[in-house]
C-alpha cells in the first residue's frame, strides 16, 4: 500500500465557501461529531446486549463472576494455593475479582476491536465518517461494562471487610492507564486485521498468555519469591501486571505492595509506561495510515 501520489495540479480555483473533499481519515475534522458518533455506536451496542436476552446485562456481569467463582473455589478450597493467611493475600477474593474485572475489560475491548472495522463494512463502505470511531466505540462499550462491574467489585470488597482508603483516589489514574493501553491495542489490531486475518487467532493466544503473566490468580508476593530480579523486571514490563498490582494495592489492601515497591523504585516502572504510550502512538499512526484506504481494502 503506497501513499497517494502528489498530483501536482495548479492551485485550486475555488468558489468562495467551497472546500476540497479529502478521502476518509481516522479522526475527521469535527471532534464533536467524532465523539457523538463514538458514543452513539457504543450506546447502541450496549442497548443491544440488554435487549438480546432475557437477563440482559446480567450476562455481561456473569462472565467475570463465573470465572471468579471457579478460580476462587479452586484456589482457596481445593488447591489451597492461597488461603488468605499470608499478608499479601489478605482479601484474596476481592483482589482476584478486581483483577478479573480489569482483565475482562482489556480482553473484551481488544478482541472485539479486532474484527470491528471489518464487521462494520456496511458503514465503512457507505458513509463518510471518521474511521477511528469504530475501534474506539468498542473500547467505550467496554468502559460502560467496566464501570458497572467495578461497582460489583466495590460491593464485594466492602462486604469482605475492605474499608475506604485515601488511595481510592488513585482509581481514575489506574483505570485511565488501562483504557489508554486498551485503546492503543484496539486501534493497532483493528487496522492490522484488515490486511492480516490471522491477527485474530494470534491475539487470542496472546490474551491467554497475558492472563497468566499478570497478577490475576497469583499474588505478587509469590511472583517476587519465585522469579529472579531479571525475570521480575521483565514481568513488570507487562503494563497489565503494573496496573493490576497498583489496583490491588490502592483499592483493596496496602498489605500487598504498590507496583513501584515490587522493583524497589517507581522509576523501574518506566518501561511499562513507555510500552503503553508506544502502543497508543503506534496504534494511532498505523490506524491513521490505514484509514484512507480501509473502505476499499475490506
Amino acid at each position: 500500500m503506497s501513499a497517494m501520489p502528489d498530483v501536482g495540479l495548479p492551485a485550486p480555483l475555488q468558489a468562495p465557501g467551497s472546500h476540497r473533499v479529502h478521502g476518509p481519515s481516522a479522526l475527521g475534522s469535527d471532534l464533536h461529531r467524532f465523539w457523538s458518533l463514538t458514543f452513539t455506536l457504543a450506546r447502541t451496542e450496549f442497548k443491544l446486549r440488554f435487549y438480546g436476552s432475557v437477563l440482559g446485562y446480567v450476562w455481561t456481569l456473569m462472565r467475570p463472576l463465573l470465572l471468579f467463582s471457579v478460580l476462587w473455589v479452586f484456589f482457596t478450597k481445593i488447591g489451597h494455593v492461597n488461603d488468605g493467611t499470608t499478608p499479601g493475600e489478605k482479601y484474596y477474593g476481592a483482589q482476584l475479582l478486581g483483577s478479573i474485572v480489569l482483565f475482562t475489560f482489556f480482553i473484551e475491548g481488544t478482541t472485539n476491536a479486532v474484527r470491528s472495522v471489518v464487521d462494520r463494512e456496511n458503514l465503512v463502505r457507505k458513509i463518510h465518517f471518521p474511521r477511528l470511531v469504530i475501534p474506539l466505540s468498542v473500547v467505550l462499550l467496554g468502559m460502560f461494562n467496566l464501570a458497572l462491574n467495578l461497582i460489583v467489585v466495590a460491593i464485594f470488597a466492602i462486604s469482605a471487610g475492605v474499608r475506604p482508603m485515601l488511595s481510592w483516589l488513585e482509581l481514575p489514574l489506574i483505570v485511565g492507564a488501562l483504557i489508554l493501553f486498551a485503546a492503543g491495542m484496539a486501534m493497532l489490531l483493528s487496522a492490522l486485521f484488515v490486511h492480516f486475518r490471522d491477527i485474530q487467532p494470534i491475539w487470542e493466544v496472546v490474551a491467554q498468555i497475558l492472563f497468566y503473566a499478570s497478577p490475576v490468580i497469583i499474588s505478587i508476593q509469590t511472583v517476587i519469591a519465585k522469579l529472579n530480579p531479571t525475570l521480575l523486571h521483565i514481568y513488570m514490563l507487562n503494563p497489565l501486571a503494573v496496573i493490576f498490582q497498583q489496583f490491588r494495592h490502592a483499592m483493596i489492601t496496602n498489605a500487598t505492595p504498590a507496583a513501584g515497591q515490587v522493583l524497589g523504585s517507581w522509576s523501574a516502572l518506566f518501561g511499562a509506561l513507555a510500552i503503553v504510550v508506544a502502543i497508543f502512538v503506534v496504534g494511532f499512526l498505523v490506524f491513521n495510515r490505514a484509514a484512507a484506504r480501509i473502505a476499499e481494502n475490506l
Partner: protein, 411 residues
C-alpha cells in the same frame, strides 16, 4: 447518434456557482491476487505482496455541478458511477485530481445504511440522524416529522426486523431527507416502495429542488433520471462518455446497452419517402412546452411532422400511455377533428390534441404517429414514447381522476 442542440447548451453552461467541482479525478483500486493474505504467506513469499491487479475505476473525469442542479450519473454496472459518487462523498480518496464542494454534504449514499434490525424504529432514526451529522438533540427534535412522513406512527416501537421491506424503505427515505445538507448524494433508490409512497418521494424531490438543494443521483433507471435531472452524464469503463440533457443521455445509454435505440427502429420501415416525425412535446394551458405539470392543468399533446411525399387527409394520431404501458387514450385527427387536408412534400405540420385534466399523478408518454387515410393501420411514421410528461398532484387511487358529482339521497 448526435446530440440535439439543446443538449449541447445544457452541457456547456450550467448556471450558478458550482456546488460540486470535479477536476480530472482518477481512482484505481489495487486488488491483491490473494484477497486475504496471512502472515504465514507473507513470511513464505515476501515479494508476492506487490502482486496487484489494478482496477482503474474512474479515469480523468471532470465535471462541474451547479448549485441547485439535479445531476444524474448513469452507466452500466461497473462503469465507475458509484465509485465516483463515493469519491465525492469522501468514502474513497482519489488518486489524482481534485474534488471541491461548496456547502454541507450529506454523508449518505444509500438508504438505510446502518439500520440495525434488532433495534426499534425510534432508536434507528435517531442513530441514523446522528450519522448524518445532526446532534442528539436535533435528532430527537426531528423524530416526529420523520415518522409522520414515513407514516409509521403506530410502529415506532417495533423492531425493524418485524418491518416489511416497504416500511423499511419509507423509514430510510424519511430519515435521509430530514437533513440540512445542501448537497445530497443518492445511489439507486427510487425503484422501491408502493406507488403512493413513490409519488410522495417524488414530491419531496421537487421540494428539495425548489429549495435549491443540489442532488447528485446515480441510477440505471433512465425514467427517474429523465424525470428529475436537469442534466446527466453517461459513464462507461470509468470515463465520461457524454454529458448533457437527460433525454439525450438516456438515448445514448440505451444505445450503449442494446446497440440501438428501442424506439428508433420502426420509423424507416414505414416510409421510404422521408416523411418523419420531427418533434413531439407537451404544452401547458398557456401554450408553453412543459415536461411536468400540475394535475389541474389541461394538456396539449403536440408533434410536428415533416412530409416527404404528397398526402391527402393523412391521419395524425397521438397515443398517451402510462409508465406501465397502459394506453389512456388514442387521439386521432380523423375521429376527433375531421379531415386533415392535403399536404405536399417538404411541408411541415403541427398536430395538437388537447385533453382535459383528468390524469392521476404519474409519468405519461406520448407516441406520435402518422398514417395514410383509411384505417390508420399503415403507419407512415411512428415514434414510440417519443416524449413524456410528469403530472403531479394528489390521487384518489384510480387510474384517472374523472370529474365526479356525488349525490346522496334518502331512499
Amino acid at each position: 447518434m448526435t446530440l440535439s442542440p439543446t443538449a449541447d447548451r445544457a452541457a456547456s453552461a450550467p448556471c450558478g456557482p458550482a456546488a460540486v467541482s470535479i477536476e480530472g479525478v482518477d481512482k484505481t483500486f489495487r486488488l491483491p491476487h490473494q484477497q486475504y493474505s496471512t502472515l504465514k504467506e507473507r513470511a513464505l513469499h515476501p515479494f508476492r505482496s506487490t502482486d496487484y491487479d489494478e482496477l482503474h475505476a474512474v479515469k480523468g473525469v471532470s465535471v462541474e455541478i451547479a448549485t441547485g442542479e439535479f445531476f444524474g450519473i448513469v452507466g452500466r454496472n461497473g462503469s465507475g458511477k458509484s465509485t465516483l459518487l463515493k469519491c465525492i462523498a469522501g468514502i474513497y480518496g482519489v488518486d489524482a485530481g481534485r474534488i471541491s464542494i461548496a456547502g454541507r454534504l450529506s454523508p449518505f449514499i444509500e438508504l438505510g445504511v446502518g439500520f440495525n434490525m434488532d433495534l426499534t424504529a425510534r432508536d434507528n432514526v435517531i442513530i441514523n440522524a446522528i450519522m448524518l451529522g445532526l446532534s442528539r438533540r436535533q435528532a430527537r427534535a426531528r423524530f416526529d416529522e420523520v415518522i409522520a412522513f414515513a407514516e409509521l406512527e403506530e410502529f415506532i416501537d417495533l423492531k425493524l426486523k418485524n418491518y416489511s421491506s416497504g416500511m423499511l424503505v419509507r423509514l430510510a427515505f424519511a430519515t435521509s431527507i430530514e437533513v440540512d445538507a445542501e448537497i445530497l448524494l443518492i445511489d439507486e433508490v427510487l425503484a422501491v416502495g408502493d406507488a403512493a409512497f413513490q409519488q410522495k418521494c417524488f414530491e419531496q424531490f421537487y421540494r428539495l429542488k425548489r429549495e435549491g438543494r443540489t442532488i447528485v443521483f446515480v441510477s440505471h433507471d433512465m425514467y427517474s433520471v429523465e424525470r428529475f435531472c436537469d442534466r446527466a452524464m453517461l459513464m462507461e469503463r470509468g470515463k465520461m462518455v457524454q454529458i448533457g440533457e437527460p433525454r439525450a443521455i438516456g438515448r445514448a445509454y440505451h444505445k450503449l446497452n442494446f446497440g440501438q435505440l428501442p424506439h428508433e427502429a420502426p420509423i424507416e420501415d414505414h416510409s421510404s419517402s422521408g416523411t418523419a416525425i420531427a418533434d413531439a412535446w407537451f404544452e401547458g394551458p398557456g401554450g408553453e412546452r412543459v415536461t411536468s405539470c400540475s394535475q389541474e392543468d389541461a394538456l396539449n399533446m403536440c408533434f410536428e411532422v415533416r412530409f416527404g411525399e404528397d398526402l391527402e387527409d393523412p391521419v395524425f394520431a397521438a397515443t398517451l400511455r402510462t409508465e406501465l404501458g397502459h394506453t389512456i387514450v388514442v387521439a386521432r385527427s380523423d375521429q376527433h377533428g375531421g379531415n386533415s387536408g392535403s399536404f405536399s412534400a417538404g411541408e411541415t405540420a403541427i398536430a395538437r390534441f388537447s385533453i382535459p385534466s383528468w390524469l392521476t399523478p404519474s409519468r405519461y408518454t406520448l407516441t406520435p404517429s402518422l398514417a395514410r387515410e383509411g384505417t390508420g393501420e399503415n403507419a407512415l411514421a411512428l415514434v414510440e414514447d417519443m416524449t413524456s410528461v410528469v403530472v403531479h398532484g394528489t390521487t384518489s387511487g384510480g387510474i384517472l381522476e374523472l370529474p365526479v358529482e356525488a349525490k346522496i339521497e334518502r331512499a
